[in-house]
């Protein structure tokens, strides 16, 4: 294993490096999100079928993508914590869960808002929305288990196992839900599977997705730093840090 792997495992080093990265990421995230929003709302062309209501995809799609990648990161970090007993990985996994759950809620809410003008009702048992709802349930399960177990390291390990079980299940759930959906609603109007979106439409979407990722990195680092301080509160370096301020 290379040296950086060991360094990453040290909470103190992690705290310092995230402290240095945080301002840069914050600025980039802010610029991308602001620029992307203005571009998406004011300059991107309206959809020929849905008019302006389609513009909510600029929130819906990034949050949906992020909710999924966040689960992946949570499970991978959990696995690293399990195998190498790395505390920082446990902390990353723990910090991921609420962010991912929030993203899933955002995706569900924007999906519902989008559904009203498109389908005429706030909720439709569409395959994507249903999968997202189940993903949200998986997040809730991990968070509930984590808070139910008192011992910090046991909680981290148990949630990691659950997250990994969920990771194996996500493709199965997605496939089964899609299959169930086609069985019950044969010809639904698919929202996101448009053939060839024009560049003026997907470029702002790309900007928003990258912006969301940066925003995710920022909030993850902030949560992680809090978690590090909380867990290491009795160690010398945290005490020095607090006294020096």
């Amino acid at each position: 294993m290379p040296r950086w792997f060991y360094q990453l495992a040290s909470p103190r080093w992690c705290y310092q490096i995230t402290g240095r990265l945080l301002p840069g990421f914050s600025i980039v995230a802010l610029l991308l999100l602001l620029g992307g929003t203005v571009w998406a709302l004011a300059f991107a062309p309206a959809d020929y079928q849905q008019g302006n209501s389609f513009r909510i995809i600029y929130l819906h799609v990034p949050s949906a993508i992020l909710a999924q990648s966040c689960y992946m990161l949570m499970a991978v970090a959990g696995a690293i914590g399990l195998i190498w007993k790395m505390k920082v990985a446990d902390m990353v996994a723990k910090s991921c869960a609420p962010i991912g759950a929030t993203m899933a809620v955002l995706a569900l809410l924007t999906g519902a808002i989008w559904g009203k003008p498109t389908w005429g009702s706030w909720w439709v048992w569409d395959a994507r929305l249903t999968s997202m709802l189940i993903l949200f349930f998986l997040y809730l399960g991990v968070m509930a288990l984590n808070s139910a177990i008192e011992s910090e390291s046991t909680a981290a390990q148990a949630s990691a196992v659950l997250a990994l079980v969920g990771l194996v299940n996500i493709p199965i759930i997605k496939y089964s839900v899609e299959w169930w959906n086609t069985l019950h609603q044969p010809a639904t109007f698919k929202l996101t599977e448009k053939p060839a979106m024009p560049a003026e439409m997907w470029l702002p979407l790309l900007v928003m997705v990258i912006g969301f990722y940066c925003f995710f990195a920022v909030s993850l680092m902030m949560r992680l730093r809090n978690e590090i301080l909380r867990r290491e509160r009795r160690s010398g370096w945290v005490r020095d840090l607090l006294l020096s301020k």
């Binding site: 399990l82 349930f137 509930a144 390291s153 046991t154 148990a158 196992v161 659950l162 089964s176």
Partner: protein, 243 residues
């Protein structure tokens, strides 16, 4: 008396007799079945629960036969799923409380063999029992006769997966005093694929469509469960006992 301080790798003392994985599996299965049979009162609880949930639907929705028949595949599967889930919490609980689980984890024997045997014993007394009584209860919901075979086959292939996945939840929550509600939160989302393919199979059987595809999918889920779930269960048990 042999000297104990020497390394047994060079010691003939170890060659007493070896109980292979098969023998251990059978011994564990027998033990768990025997334990369950000595607690007869708890044995029928999942079945009674199954029957009661089924009774709620005509009362709560409508006793009209045509309507119930349409609802039957989903209702039967959901009730079977909940009955399995309800019985899951006790799977490792008594073993944890009386210290048997500690002894099991400290055994040189492979843990997953005993875990698989325990899950099989659990399934035989819940999933298999549910499968056998399901046709009787299906009649009460006016499920057409053509659907019976589909119902039984799908339950036969689907409920073992429910037991396996449920056992992961049971293992993760065994160290907690109040694991009952939590286990549902953890496990229910994971049950969704089995529910979808299970009801799909019954509906296909009712409408006279071929069943093979559904059963193959349920079988695939079961195969995946048998290979991966014991790993997760073993890991979860070690974590729960450690904490």
């Amino acid at each position: 008396m042999a000297d104990l301080s020497t390394n047994p790798a060079t010691d003939s003392r170890m060659e007493h007799r070896t109980l292979g994985a098969g023998g251990l599996f059978v011994a564990a299965l027998k033990r768990d079945l025997m334990l369950s049979l000595r607690r007869k009162s708890e044995l029928v609880n999942p079945l009674i629960f199954f029957l009661m949930v089924i009774t709620l639907f005509p009362l709560g929705v409508s006793p009209e036969p045509g309507f119930l028949a349409e609802l039957a595949p989903g209702v039967l599967w959901v009730a079977a799923l909940l009955a399995t889930l309800l019985s899951m919490d006790s799977l490792f609980r008594t073993d944890f409380d009386d210290g048997s689980l500690e002894q099991l984890l400290l055994s040189p024997q492979p843990l997953f063999v005993v875990v698989l045997a325990k899950v099989l014993a659990h399934w035989m007394l819940t999933g298999l029992a549910l499968t056998l009584v399901a046709p009787v209860i299906a009649v009460m919901l006016f499920l057409p006769a053509e659907g019976m075979l589909g119902l039984m086959l799908s339950l036969l292939l689907g409920t073992p997966t429910l037991s396996l996945v449920g056992a992961i939840g049971a293992a993760l929550t065994v160290g907690l005093r109040k694991g009952g509600v939590l286990i549902s939160l953890l496990v229910l989302p994971l049950y969704i694929p089995v529910l979808i393919f299970g009801t799909g199979a019954v509906q296909a059987a009712v409408t006279g469509l071929p069943l093979g595809g559904y059963l193959a999918l349920l079988g695939a889920l079961l195969a995946l469960g048998v290979t991966l779930a014991p790993l997760a269960i073993s890991a979860a048990l070690r974590i729960s006992v450690s904490g």
